[in-house]
Amino acid sequence: MYYITVFASVAGVLFMLYHLELTRRIKLERSNKKLQDIVDQLDDQAKIIIKTDLALNKVQEDLDRKIAGLYTLHELSRKLSSTFNIENIFGMINQPFVLKLGFSKLLVTLKDNSTGLMAIKSSAGYSDAETKTIETEFNKINFASFMFKKEKPTLVNRLMESIDRRWNLLDLLKVESFLTAPIVTREESIGFIIAGNTSMYGKISENDSELISILTGLIGTAIESAKLYTELFGSHRELERRVAERTKELEKLNEELKNLNKMKSDFISSVSHELRTPLTSIKGYASILMTGKLGDVLPAQKERLEKIDKHSNSLVHLINNLLDIARIESGKIQMEMKDISIKEMLDSIVDIITPQIKEKNISLKINSKTKFDKIKADHSQIERIFLNLLSNAVKFTPEKGTVTVDVEEKDDVIQFSIDDTGIGIPPQDIPKVFQEFFRADNALDQKIKGSGLGLSLVKKIVEAHKGKIWFNSELGKGSRFTFTLPKY
């Protein structure tokens, strides 16, 4: 009985222990299960966090890529604006530029107008041989005709139903995806761009279309600007060439004219010399005859001899003027430049001209507004200028008229003006006034004697002094001849 009781007690305790262990295990399993569930739940939550993080990273990456691309295009645009050379433009589309833009390969293809074929002008990420192969293939499949119909960039990748199925371009270009867009100038397609990525990590998307559009726009504009510049530059050079050619012709003509002028001067000079010798004899013999040493001279004969003498003197004067013009033109007359007192010179000229003035009862006024009394000039030649101009003024001014001499100081020159209240010069004759032998076609001019060499000689003398001469004239009111002489 005792044993039975002990056995039952032990069995009871064991059962209780078993039960307790079972309960503990069940609880532990439940707890483990619960823990496992929590871990799994946390793991599921981790998956959500990872997915969210991945999506955020993707957005950030796309944004960064776009910003970097736009920045790179901005840099290119800045550089393009500084060149008008088409080859330089293509040189800028180089490997660093392409990679910075976010592509691993890029081709710029333009239509060669002479052959009608497409030529790859810029290539990044391809060897020369690969570029040549692609160029040949493009021309073979006439890819340009397809591209030129497109207005927007076209995306090509292996997952899309696209032009790649037709031409297997991804393999030809050795890229996983690419974008292609036409280059347009003045609404005409002149080429296209292909930008692709080899790496699967930089798969091209529609988001990149904008970058490619901007790039094709920049290239198109740059090419157009370069062409316009080249045309403009060409026209400019042509114009310059023509101007140079014409200048050369004019220089040649000018040289010929100078030679002719010299020949004329030489001719006049030699003829004048030849004329002066017999004229001197004529004048001499006429004088001898007039003295009566060779026999009595009848009054009628004396009158004729005096005319011979008078006309001989006119002829000598004419010849001397001609000779002077010829000498000044040929530079044979050297001006003897000396300091001359303006006042003294004018006084002396007034003395000479006074008889003519008095004869016509003309009033002569001298207005000198200069404090500077000296000029450097050839005294005898300056006297000739004044005598010629004043004589003309007196000759063409009616009786009781006025002749005014103004002297003014202007910068480095002294300006002399001889003003008259004479008949004036007809407008049609104004351009010819300084021409040799010119005489105005009016009754008074025909009446007044003169050779038509005076003003021409005056102009030559003024210019030989590095001065200028001009005039203003109004028909019926008078003329004003002005000339300048340097002070020093």
Binding site: D40, L42, A46, I50, K51, N57, Q95, P96, K100, M200
Partner: protein, 401 residues
Amino acid sequence: MYKNMATLIGTGISTKLDSFAAGKEAALSAYYQIEKNYPDILIIFISTIYNQHETIKGIRSIIRDTPIIGCSSIGSISSYGSHQDSVAVFIISSNSISFFCGIGDKISANSRLAGSKAAIKAFGSIKKHAPKQAYMMFCDSVSGNSADILRGAQEILGTCFPIIGGGACNKLYSSKTYQYADNEIYTDSVTGVIISGAMVLGVGQSSSWQPIGKPHKITKAKFNVIKEIDKRPAVKMYEEYFEKSFEEIKNDGIFKLGINYPLGVRQIDKNREYITRVPLTLEYNGSLVLNANIREEEDVSLMISDKELILESAKNAAEKALSYIKNTKIKFATMFSDISRFLLLRNDAYKEIDLVKEIIGREIPILGCYTLGEYGLLNAAESAGQYCFNSHSVSITLFSE
């Protein structure tokens, strides 16, 4: 210009969009800063947007014979800030520091051998009793096993010898990268330089990526390839977390996901520092090829980070480095930050450098670039002073007298 006793540092950065011109501009700018003194070494980092040969020609048009060391990158790090798509030329001119370069090739065939070859060449050039202070190396991060390259170098230099630097990278992420030694441009290689001279070093490294989701078990792995996680193809982990099919991940590229969401394999200290690995490629059987070794039976988690964590870790790394060289005068600093950090910080990338400058001193010249994986000292106490390779970290080294 940074003038410090007999050591001058010149920094030249160019973002010109012409390879030769950018190289020339950066070199000229750096050369002016060393007051036309004799340059002892050129440390260069060139973005892969540039034609590498043309850029080096541009640099050589200014400085002809000085040894060159460096690698391709997506951007440079300097006292002037962060410069994406740039050419960076750093010149060191010193009568107290010497530099000896080495190169090891074919890392895809044998990463360890390439690492040791480069170290042997660099180490072999140095005088026997000259004080060797650090080895800075740049490897092709996408063609080999970056941890094995380190192991190869450590076979020559020792596991506790300071090894800094990182993996060269490309703007197109997992595309070809370049390493420079003298006038040559290498790929699938590792270049390194022994820095010798009487100085004190302070090294600090910190990562900021933290696990998200539950841990998983690596059930089958060999070297740098994870074949199975939780007895399923390794890629399933990415498929489930990102709700993408195998084909989608294959087409988009596992690296694209992995660079932002790497795998964290173990916590190495109480400061929540993790060893991270980046999947470079996805194999058809679902295996993931990582940028460095991983062990079987380890727990693995998907990792995530944010801007604040990144900036905090930059501060940690700088403070760690500074703690080793208290009361000394810092000559210059190197800073290598993972490209994943740059991709996350984006326009705020300058903040990371600014924080470091605030800690080490604003006048200290900083030389560096963005790398794909970094060499450094992640936790001296836990690793017994052994240098390691980690991803997603920032590695800062201070060189002081």
